[in-house]
């Protein structure tokens, strides 16, 4: 099958392919020769399996994610729906304040939806969100896990906070909007998750 690479990330390449008549993308985890085979194989098969599992589950709870068609653990390949949308990273800085607020709130609501079901994304950055049909789709659950702890949910949001600070630093209130949406949708105590974030920030070096 001919493949066209549309994106080369740190750990995987994203290729366009065809699968049973659909245009699909394949996320292929790349073997890394800098790490020993033992670690490499462990990470690749574990992350591929976890990612597929978490995405399928997130979808059940109403989070927009690409539909998964096939999983190949040995080669570390996930075949999934091709989303012809725009990365939030590329558009967020160019939106009007009102629109940026609306999108950020949506992001927060979606995160709350998967957190409600103890799904931790593990790498929530604006590069891992695609806007399509006015829905924010989440991709790349490769560092995700299942956890009911406030701590892991706090860390999950903290990753996004740092990503927003480094990539969208001119719009400092983005994260507040995200939290607004999160509070609205989160079923547990959003306050204690937010307190956790503050605790994590303070725990960082030199805070």
């Amino acid at each position: 099958m001919a493949k066209t690479i549309i994106y080369r990330g740190a750990e995987a390449e994203i290729c366009l392919a065809h699968y049973m008549g659909h245009q699909v993308v394949q996320k292929r985890r790349i073997r890394k020769s800098y790490r020993i085979k033992n670690i490499d194989s462990r990470l690749i098969s574990y992350r591929t399996r976890e990612e597929a599992k978490l995405m399928t589950e997130a979808r059940l709870y109403g989070v927009s994610v690409p539909i998964i068609y096939d999983v190949d653990l040995g080669n570390g390949v996930i075949t999934m729906e091709y989303l012809k949308g725009k990365r939030i990273k590329d558009i967020l800085n160019n939106l009007s304040e009102k629109e940026r607020k609306r999108i950020c709130k949506k992001i927060g609501e979606s995160i709350a939806k998967f957190h409600n079901n103890d799904i931790i994304h593990g790498d929530i950055t604006t590069s891992n969100m695609i806007l399509l049909n006015d829905r924010v789709h989440f991709i790349d659950f490769g560092l995700g896990e299942k956890s009911s702890e406030m701590e892991t949910k706090g860390v999950d949001l903290h990753v996004l906070m740092e990503a927003l600070e480094s990539t969208h630093s001119k719009y400092a209130n983005c994260f507040d909007y995200v939290l607004e949406g999160y509070k609205k949708e989160f079923k547990g105590s959003a306050k204690s998750v937010i307190n956790k974030i503050e605790e994590i920030v303070k725990r960082g070096r030199y805070r």
């Binding site: 740190a10 670690i39 462990r42 790498d123 560092l143 990503a163 480094s166 990539t167 960082g204």
Partner: protein, 331 residues
């Protein structure tokens, strides 16, 4: 412009003299003295006493080695932070005394940013790197974005150097333990599974340390444990660095900090860089570890960009974060 820089954030007191030529850094001298406790870790006051004892001699030595006179110095810079309070104060006091005596301007600089700038200043083609900064206290992945050096990822608990030192202390090695663990690891054959902890671009080592300690208690071979610690923690460091490069779309990677002297870490990051078509840079060992030359060089950059500091403002800041610095010298 000639600048004398005094570094004193932790165990090292160092004085370096640099000269600016065509926006590049020429290191004229860089004398380094490291405090080594007889046992255990660094006691901040003991380290500061050590620095106070040697700093005057080091200043004289660095000026002699640079082959200049004191009158030739245009600027005095010092490590403002982050670091251990007593050590920072000792270095800052020396800098103030020198600045007042010579009647030359003073500049307090950020230690972490200095690690990055010395790479850019001394290595050709190193223009806009992601820095993997690994030392005892610090483990950060830093890059320039939107006017500042942003911390893309960092340790959530202990620095990698600290992790290596703590493990070394458990098995009875002297500080610094990294080089000894590197030697042991060379003879390691069996990989023992250790926690591999990455959260986005952040990283954690305390779980790995605890698990390694367990292996030691269970009588596993030191060589195998050392090998496994290096392979696991360095792979994780390389991975977060690669993530930061992909995220920030940069194609240069620079190493800095004491752990950057480790050949295995260098190999891994170099391999990662070449596989993604990026360039890999590592400064010479004395510019990787804590040193006065990098402090001097950052002083030059700040001064040339128009920043001025009065003696009254030349305070220290133990919690001086990388991303607090307004990087006015880069467009």
């Amino acid at each position: 412009m000639i600048c004398l820089g005094i570094e004193g954030t932790a165990h090292t007191i160092s004085v370096g003299v640099v000269k600016e030529a065509k926006e590049k850094c020429k290191v004229l001298s860089n004398v380094i003295k490291i405090y080594r406790p007889k046992q255990g870790g660094i006691h901040p006051r003991e380290a500061a006493n050590h620095h106070a004892e040697f700093v005057a001699d080091l200043i004289r030595e660095s000026v002699n080695k640079a082959n200049i006179d004191f009158e030739d110095i245009d600027l005095i810079s010092f490590s403002k932070g982050p670091g251990l309070g007593p050590c920072l104060r000792t270095a800052a006091t020396a800098a103030r005394a020198l600045s007042l005596t010579l009647n030359k301007p003073i500049m307090g600089v950020n230690h972490c940013v200095a690690h990055l700038e010395i790479g850019r200043g001394t290595i050709d083609n190193c223009k806009d790197p992601v820095l993997l900064y690994t030392s005892g206290a610090n483990t950060q992945v830093i890059g320039f974005a939107e006017g500042r050096y942003r911390v893309f990822g960092e340790t959530l608990d202990i620095g990698i150097g600290n992790c290596l030192d703590k493990f070394g202390r458990i098995i009875g090695l002297d500080f610094p333990c990294g080089p000894k663990i590197e030697e042991l690891a060379k003879n390691g054959k069996n990989y023992l599974e250790l926690p591999y902890s990455i959260k986005g671009m952040d990283i954690a080592f305390s779980g790995l340390l605890t698990a390694a300690e367990q292996y030691y208690k269970n009588g596993e071979k030191l060589e195998d444990i050392s090998y496994s610690i290096q392979e696991t923690s360095f792979a994780a460091l390389t991975e977060v660095t690669e993530r930061a490069m992909a995220h920030s779309e940069k194609d240069e990677v620079l190493l800095g900090g004491g752990v950057a002297a480790n050949k295995r870490l260098q190999d891994m990051v170099n391999t990662m860089a070449s596989e993604r078509g990026a360039r890999f840079f590592v400064p010479s060992r004395d510019l990787c570890i804590d040193n006065g030359a990098m402090i001097a060089w950052l002083g030059v950059l700040m001064y040339n960009s128009g920043i001025r500091m009065d003696i009254e403002e030349s305070t220290i800041d133990q919690r001086f974060r990388t991303d607090m610095v307004d990087v006015s010298w880069r467009g």
